[in-house]
């Protein structure tokens, strides 16, 4: 009798356990199915764009639409250079986004460094100035900026595109947080060794900030590479357009040839995508930093 009760409790226990286990497996399968569906929603547009950019025009405009096509061609990638000045767009984007990134890395880290590790008159005021600057949207002051650039003959020039973006309040904020986190005795020791302020900054502090610098680099690069309104306003001729502004104006709301437009879209996002594959953690870090609160 006693033995039987022990047996049944064991049995109940083990069915409970296997039930629990089965529930867990089912839950994990449901979870993976939902996530895979979401992945499909995110990935499909890109895959379809990529595949279609290699299709003949008549295979793109079929109904019902097809994912794959019998024949593939490079024709769109050749045609797109003829139909829009894409090479110029690429060049302008690389110069604008690249130079802006490099200069802002230097200027933002200098300002962030001063705000983080130096004591001076008006420090709090400068800090609040930067914090408030972060919240001022570009569209609010774009018209006077356009007039200013026009008066200085800087419309349609690389200088005009780069200089206003050569520092960002967010970049300063990000670098400041980075420098605040470095150990206090580092610069004091360096000062005792007779290093001057610039040397301390470049030889000791910057090398320790590489991860944040990388995160800021990809952050500003992506922002400027993808920006539409800013280059749209500060450039008026087609030869100075960047990729987003050029593509947007080219496609407008009426797309007459799909193939070349798709090829152009692929070309415009490919460089960032390649950088993303190799430097993913820095992209994510930049976004995470933007959500950091003090």
């Amino acid at each position: 009798m006693e033995a039987r009760t022990a047996d049944t409790t064991e049995l109940v226990d083990s069915t409970k356990k296997s039930n629990y286990h089965r529930n867990k497996v089912i839950k994990s399968i449901i979870f993976k199915v939902i996530m895979s569906l979401l992945i499909l929603i995110v990935v499909f547009p890109f895959l379809w764009l990529l595949l279609s950019s290699f299709k003949y025009e008549k295979d793109i405009i079929t109904y019902p639409p097809h994912i794959f096509s019998g024949k593939y061609t490079f024709q769109n990638y050749i045609k797109v250079w003829d139909t829009i000045p894409l090479l110029g767009y690429v060049k302008n984007t690389v110069i604008f986004a690249g130079a802006t990134m490099l200069i802002s890395l230097v200027l933002d880290s200098m300002t962030g460094y001063a705000l983080a590790r130096m004591e001076f008159k008006g420090k709090t005021a400068f800090y609040y100035f930067v914090m408030v600057s972060m919240m001022i949207p570009f569209m609010v002051y774009m018209i006077p900026l356009f007039i200013e650039m026009n008066k200085m003959n800087l419309l349609d020039t690389y200088t005009g595109l780069i200089v206003p973006r050569a520092t960002t309040a967010f970049g300063i904020f990000m670098m400041r947080s980075n420098f605040v986190g470095l150990p206090r005795d580092l610069d004091e020791a360096a000062r005792l060794d007779g290093l001057n302020e610039w040397r301390i900054f470049t030889k000791i502090m910057l090398p320790l900030s590489k991860p944040t610098l990388m995160a800021l680099a990809v952050f500003t690069l992506t922002n400027n590479w993808n920006d539409l309104l800013y280059p749209l306003i500060l450039t008026t001729t087609s030869s100075m357009r960047t990729l987003p502004a050029g593509l947007a104006l080219f496609t407008g709301q009426h797309i007459s040839f799909y193939g070349p437009v798709m090829a152009g879209a692929v070309i415009s996002m490919l460089p960032l995508f390649i950088i993303y594959i190799f430097a993913q953690k820095y992209f994510v870090q930049g976004s995470a930093m933007s959500g950091m609160k003090e």
Binding site: F31, I39, I41, V42, F44, P45, W48, L49, P65, L107, M110, T111, Y113, A114, R117, E119, F120, F126, M135, I136, M139, V140, Y141, I143, P144, L145, F146, I147, E148, V163, A166, T167, I172, N196, E197, W198, F201, N226, L228, L229, I233, L243, P244, A248, T251, G252, Q253, Y258, M262, S268, L272, Y276, Q280, F283, V284, S287, A288, S290, G291, K293
Partner: protein, 308 residues
């Protein structure tokens, strides 16, 4: 000899002066501050100034008109509509993006291979420009060749015109924006969720809380500050919506998707190039955004104090 000496020592003392941190700081900050002053602060003041003038892009017939531009705004149905469209977009986009991003972050918070892969994938649209997203979705939603109408049709639904349908255009744009940007919210929320101390979950488990209860009673309260930040930045960002509308519908059909920034842009930078009036509209939009950001800032810090 003496002269050289003094010049050397002058140089030295000059160097010594600027090498003191309390002075060097200004040199370190000078370039950034000058740029911010010249290309942000001055134009910002300029916006307010311009809104009192009738001024066009060719600077012909510039005239001081006082508050006329602001008065005109309240009689300009298209301007007021553009504000409403912006609010409509914000109300559609912000909650959806925050919810999708937060749920994705919560679901993917454990670091497994599958989860890491999913996170990487969800971030890809973030690095894609709104212009490119707009181009892709114009084609995917195209009633003649698009996949989405086709799939809906397969499920027996009628195939709407999406971007060309007055009532569906804005929701379509909002959905596309969520698709493009929820990775940002996910990343921010993921950082917040992963920062929660595991001991909180352990004690909740000991109290017999199941996973759902844990989510609502441990996770949510812990991530409120980050959640608030996401809502706030999303609200403010959505109020400035431009790129995706410019590329997909250009404000149509019948100005039904024209946002405030889109209106400012077309007023200022296409005929009749009314920079003064466009500045007045920009000033109004700025006041709205400023009220939003200041009040949500105050609300959040009040909430945080309450929780402490």
């Amino acid at each position: 000899m003496e002269e050289i000496d003094t010049s050397v020592s002058k140089k030295r003392s000059f160097f010594r002066f600027w090498n003191q941190p309390k002075h060097a700081a200004y040199l370190f900050m000078a370039p950034s501050i000058i740029i911010l002053l010249f290309f942000m602060v001055i134009p910002l003041i300029g916006t307010l100034g311009l809104s009192f003038f009738n001024i066009n892009i060719f600077f012909t017939g510039t005239k001081f008109v006082g508050l006329d531009n602001f008065v005109q705004f309240f009689h300009d149905q298209r301007a007021i509509n553009s504000m409403w469209h912006t609010v409509y977009f914000t109300l559609l986009e912000t909650p959806t993006q925050v919810i999708v991003g937060t749920v994705a972050a919560a679901a993917l918070s454990r670091t497994t291979l599958f989860n890491r892969f999913s996170r990487s994938v969800f971030y890809v649209p973030v690095i894609c420009s709104l212009t490119t997203s707009g181009i892709i979705f114009s084609m995917l939603l195209d009633p003649n060749i698009g996949w989405i109408p086709y799939v809906l049709h397969q499920f027996g639904m009628s195939t709407p015109q999406f971007f060309r349908d007055a009532s569906l255009a804005m929701p379509s744009i909002a959905a596309m924006t969520v698709w493009k940007n929820f990775g940002v919210t996910m990343t921010i929320m993921l950082t917040a969720i992963q920062a929660i101390s595991p001991s909180l979950y352990e004690s909740a488990e000991m109290d017999g809380a199941n996973k759902q209860q844990q989510f609502f009673h441990v996770t949510i309260p812990q991530i409120i500050p980050s959640l608030g930040f996401c809502v706030m930045t999303n609200l403010i960002g959505s109020m400035q919506v431009f790129d995706q509308i410019y590329v997909t519908t250009a404000g149509g059909p019948e100005f039904k998707t024209e946002s405030a920034v889109q209106y400012i842009y077309s007023r200022g930078f296409s005929a009749p190039y009314q920079l003064g009036y466009a500045s007045a509209v920009a000033t109004i939009l700025f006041v709205i955004i400023a009220i939003l950001s200041v009040s949500s800032n105050l609300y959040m810090s009040h909430k945080e104090k309450q929780m402490r």
